[in-house]
């Protein structure tokens, strides 16, 4: 059974014990120190989480880069920190099939997130050490919250309860802006409520079990519940949740450090942004939704968990990497069992690499079209590279070899204009429209002709044995 963390604190203990968390004990200014450390930690190979114990003017600590390296990602899954990326992908796939694992609902008394209550004179700054993430951001943003909302037309339906990550701008002590793009589940719920001019109850959960944060940023179906996936990714151990205080059909992670409760004001839009976004550039000011916070619960001495996002790779990229790849893989695999692996780690799947065996001619392009018609792939993915089943899509040197040795551009590259796009991608124009490109780097199979078929080189017979010998010799030299 894999190691499971009930909350952020347990995960931070493991990170520290494994040498993947460092503490800054001296007092720092909120700007530019915290964001700088987030950028710096992701610049380092195998970068650690960074915990600031004292931030000038604030009461509590801040931790950043918690998910921000492959060792941290492996530890999140309870795997050894040196687990290769493809093995982490395969393990995620195995656990994914355990869905649904119903969560364990704790009583209010059992839930650490209810230790303290604030229900008057709400002041976010009293609880959260808020800070500017990128220099030209329009204010202080909460970049790593798991936001919970329900379906206004079917509020008691647990499956339709949504846990998602959305950017949040602090606009006042008790008022925030939130970005709900039309393609996101929260926008589906918001539209239903706004048609009736109803408030949307909301719980914004900060500092969570690392797999809750991971699932909140995973693209899954509208009627699939994130908490049931957390249980699956915990290898069958249920996620612990508790009812929100203000809304009977919203549940929050029982171990959250801070839970902000309130409502989205219906039919109101106000200036939000700019904000430095995951494509590595700012998205400008737009009129976006507004949330009023009316109630806060928090643990004693809450830890504010936040992430830096900049030109990839930064922490956010680890939260859009394998959890983008796995659901896309599952959706395609259902109809096309020849699929071997799928790497959609680049800018939330804007570029994706599919490894597949080809059953008949044109199969590679067909698989690419399937990816481009998945709910996430349709707006996000714009460049699809398809490689043979023996090419590891997580090994970019191998992928480049496949492009170099397999692609005949006039027949293997297809351009499809005027398709859906992701508005935050600065090359999407008009924002939300894009062109798709498929590069089929698979070896032709009949009926497609392959007039210059080749024999692939095989590794010499004792290669694996010598890998082990050389590894051991290197260890002895250290």
């Amino acid at each position: 059974m894999a190691k499971v963390y009930k909350d952020l604190r347990e995960f931070l203990e493991t990170l520290e014990a494994e040498g993947q968390l460092v503490r800054i004990k001296d007092e720092v200014l909120p700007e530019p120190d915290i964001a700088s450390a987030g950028r710096a930690a992701s610049n380092l190979k195998n970068g650690p989480a960074v915990l600031f114990e004292k931030v000038k003017g604030y009461k509590y600590s801040v931790v950043t880069n918690v998910h921000g390296s492959w060792p941290n990602h492996a530890l999140m899954m309870g795997m050894p920190k040196d687990t290769p990326v493809k093995e982490q992908f395969m393990e995620l796939n195995r656990r994914w099939d355990k869905y649904p694992v119903p969560p364990k609902v704790l009583s209010r008394e059992e839930a650490p997130c209810k230790e303290n209550v604030v229900d008057k004179d709400i002041n976010l700054f009293e609880i959260l050490p808020l800070y500017r993430i990128n220099d030209q951001d329009g204010g202080f943003f909460i970049s790593k919250a798991s936001v919970v909302t329900a379906d206004p037309d079917d509020p008691g339906n647990f499956d339709k309860m949504n846990v998602g990550t959305y950017r949040i701008q602090v606009k006042d002590k008790d008022r925030i802006g939130i970005q709900a793009l039309a393609m996101h589940d929260i926008a589906v719920q918001l539209e239903k409520a706004e048609r009736k001019n109803e408030k949307v109850p909301i719980a914004i959960c900060i500092g969570n079990n690392p797999l809750v944060t991971f699932m909140a940023s995973t693209p899954i179906g509208y009627s699939q519940n994130e908490y049931e996936f957390v249980g699956a990714l915990q290898d069958g151990v249920p996620c612990e949740i508790v009812k929100a205080d203000l809304c009977d059909h919203i549940y929050v992670p029982a171990g959250s450090e801070v839970v902000l409760e309130g409502y989205i004001e219906p039919r109101v839009r106000e200036v939000e942004g700019p904000f430095g976004e995951f494509p590595g550039s700012y998205s400008g000011a737009r009129n976006q939704c507004v949330v009023r916070i009316t109630h806060i619960t928090h643990r004693t001495n809450p830890i504010y968990e936040s992430l830096y996002l900049g030109i990839p790779w930064t922490e956010i990229d680890y939260l859009m990497a394998l959890n983008t790849s796995v659901p896309l893989y599952k959706q395609i695999k259902e109809g096309f069992p020849e699929l071997v692996a799928l790497n959609a780690m680049y800018m939330h799947g804007h570029v994706a690499i599919i490894s597949t065996k080809c059953r008949y001619g044109g199969y590679g392009k067909g698989i690419a079209f399937r990816l481009l018609s998945t709910p996430h792939g349709m707006p996000y993915t714009k460049i699809v590279i398809v490689v043979d089943e023996f090419v590891d899509p997580f090994n970019l040197e191998q992928v480049m070899w496949a492009l170099a040795s397999r692609v005949k551009p006039d027949k293997d590259v297809a351009i499809i204009p005027n398709c859906p796009g992701m508005p935050l991608d600065p090359s999407s124009y008009p924002a939300g429209m894009h062109t798709k490109m498929i590069i089929d780097a698979t070896t032709p199979v009949p009926p497609e002709p392959n007039p210059r078929a080749v024999e692939l080189l095989e590794p010499p017979a004792k290669t694996a044995e010598y890998e082990e010998i050389i590894r051991n010799l290197l260890k002895q030299m250290q």
């Binding site: 000038k56 204010g139 002590k173 039309a182 001019n197 939704c289």
Partner: protein, 68 residues
């Protein structure tokens, strides 16, 4: 005091530091730009806003029609 982004004079103090009066945070009630007194806000020309342009910014997501 003027807003570093939209030049409006609709500035108010949003909050004092919870500890030691270490700083204050200010916000513009016209464009919601906010900054801390320990920062030196400098908004790039590309991100400057004119108050009269605010109603024309893109609306995300669009507000649906009211059901009757």
């Amino acid at each position: 005091m003027k807003c570093p982004r939209c030049d409006s004079e609709t500035i108010r103090k949003m909050v004092d530091a919870p500890v030691d009066n270490a700083w204050e945070v200010y916000v513009c009630d016209t464009c919601f730009y906010s900054w801390r007194s320990t920062e030196d806000p400098h908004v790039h020309a590309k991100f400057k806003l004119k108050p009269e342009d605010i109603p024309n910014l893109q609306v995300i997501p669009p507000v649906p029609p009211l059901e009757k």
